[in-house]
Symmetry: C2
Subunit: 149 residues, 2 copies
DNA sequence: CTTCCTGCAAAAGTTTTGCATTAAC
DNA sequence: GTTAATGCAAAACTTTTGCAGGAAG
């Protein structure tokens, strides 16, 4: 999954959009391209070089609906976005509660399995149809720690 | 931890506020009391019966700073708040991506231990000073599933 | 009494929406 | 050519801030 070539990514994105009756337009291509080169989830402000703000919001909503993009919830003020996990690989986040920086990390497959098993059990008990889990670390990043924040 | 008596909770809250040079006022007591009776994290709108909106935001920020309250990040539009975990016990959330409802759940202690161990290792590698983790299930709650959402 | 908190109203910031124009198919 | 997406500007909403009056210590 990781390292997927740009053309593969475009094909996948286009397929998913078409399934929803949506077009894979220039602006949407630009958003997907930018997200695919980013090592961390991007805030709206980091995507408005490509596309005006209102179009960014609208297109990210469409891309999320089509399963191409995922909205990441952080402690910061504005939303962040990344490519869907089945396009980039399942991962987690180190979220700096001081500066809002988000860094991707992966955890050992054996732990993922244990987590999934335990959560499936919980979800079943609560009659909750689980779609996915979210496991993040909240703390202080290297830079903020060095700056005494 | 769970089932902590109201007076214990008040004492703990007051101690933590005092440590920050803050007072435990009527409005802050009301917020803590309301949060302590809630089974799920509450949105600002659910706290404005007690206290005007601007005071709610200000006081929740103070209470968070003092370690009495925790801001919970959900997929919804507005922030939600709950009592700090060391006052109520460590737990996780079932978040309904359709209606925004949040339900508390606990996972087996053995899994918590495994998660903590693995995350400590990751954090150390990334020079990230971890404070706590956040593990949530995103999916569809019983009611939304029944309603076909 | 002095300091900090409150509550109103206004401001700042984020996200959504209406509408005429432009691009996609 | 027809339908849907774009980009601007305005609106809606969430959160923060200024300040006069009131409560806490």
């Amino acid at each position: 999954m990781i390292g997927r070539m740009a053309s593969d990514l475009d094909t996948a994105a286009e397929t998913r959009l078409r399934r929803e009756g949506q077009r894979y337009t220039r602006g949407r291509r630009a958003l997907v391209a930018t997200l695919s080169t980013a090592a961390t989830p991007l805030a709206i402000g980091e995507l408005t070089a490509e596309v005006p703000q209102s179009s960014a919001y609208r297109n990210l909503a469409v891309l999320e609906q089509a399963g191409v993009v995922r909205r990441v919830i952080t402690d910061g003020d504005s939303a962040r976005f990344e490519l869907a996990e089945d396009l980039t690989g399942h991962h987690h986040h180190l979220i700096c509660s001081s500066c809002g920086r988000v860094q991707d990390v992966e955890v050992p497959p054996s732990l993922e399995r244990d987590i999934d098993r335990a959560l499936d059990r919980l979800a079943r008990k609560a009659a909750f149809a689980s779609v996915h889990h979210r496991l993040d670390l909240i703390g202080t990043c290297r830079d903020c720690a060095a700056a005494g924040r």
